[in-house]
Symmetry: C6
Subunit: 75 residues, 6 copies
Amino acid sequence: MSESYLPSLLTDSPEAGFQLAIKLSRLGVKFTQPDAEVRDRLRPQYAQNADSLTMASQVVAINFQTVAAANNYWR
Amino acid sequence: MSESYLPSLLTDSPEAGFQLAIKLSRLGVKFTQPDAEVRDRLRPQYAQNADSLTMASQVVAINFQTVAAANNYWR
Amino acid sequence: MSESYLPSLLTDSPEAGFQLAIKLSRLGVKFTQPDAEVRDRLRPQYAQNADSLTMASQVVAINFQTVAAANNYWR
Amino acid sequence: MSESYLPSLLTDSPEAGFQLAIKLSRLGVKFTQPDAEVRDRLRPQYAQNADSLTMASQVVAINFQTVAAANNYWR
Amino acid sequence: MSESYLPSLLTDSPEAGFQLAIKLSRLGVKFTQPDAEVRDRLRPQYAQNADSLTMASQVVAINFQTVAAANNYWR
Amino acid sequence: MSESYLPSLLTDSPEAGFQLAIKLSRLGVKFTQPDAEVRDRLRPQYAQNADSLTMASQVVAINFQTVAAANNYWR
């Protein structure tokens, strides 16, 4: 039996939650472009472009909203 | 009687919820461009472009917010 | 008396809710460009462009958040 | 005493709420570009462009989330 | 002791809340580009461009969601 | 033991919350482009471009939604 790529939204800390938000953002890309080689080839295209980085940070921010709510904001 | 394309927002796990978010994102495209052949032709246009992939991941993130809230974050 | 174009946010099913989200997205366009002929002329501009379709799907996703919350996620 | 441009977020119906969302979207533009003549001159720039219309519809969708929540979704 | 630039999210009215949303949007710009002279120089770049104005209105809309929720929608 | 880069979402004031939202936005960039030198090189690319600044302000706005909710809007 293969492991789940997303067993839970609950994390021990805000930091782990932020890492999960990054993972979710990458999963969204992965399911649109499943070929890892292509994704690696595209990396310089956005990692060296300011607006692309802002866009990437925005997706993380949206996913972090979800993870933070799931964890009741680690209050 | 034809089956519903969206019978429920409830899923058994976060992973199934993420898959539903991807499905919702594709449905949003499908209803704007119903021609599957055109959609297939457009695929290389965005699957090979970093910003397009980030944008696609963002739509998934927004839909995942909805699905996660529907499932009370699988707490 | 003319009928309301948006009598309620409540729908019988998630599928009907998704259709309402699509309607809301089109209403947002209609009130900015009321001329149906112009809107029809613009259709190929976005229906054949991958990023435009992703953007359209994003608006549907945002409206679907509203409709889903209104319907308490059809739980 | 001048009248408020935004006396309340409460409306009698979803339709009136959608109109308020459109008004909020225009207010956001107005405060960035207060010159009505300039805004009128820019109108063809976006009213004839598919992606601009989608972007405009997105702002309406975001504001409609706020208005709908304020009205408890007119349940 | 210097005054806070953001003492509270609570406002007396929806209109004051909308003004606060505009202020928050400008603060977001200010902290990325602290040089007022540069910001002034950039103003014609977006105040005369339809899509830039729509984007600015969108940031205000997102901040207004926060302020409106903070004020329990001035119900 | 290294310190957490995100120990908590709770802050003493709205102003500190806004600063945390800015930090979260930068963290989202940092994890996509970990090379500080590259990030510094890209700075003029967006700090002198109106739309880039609006986009940056939008990411801050999204993160501020999360931080504000976590702090129950400092009511």
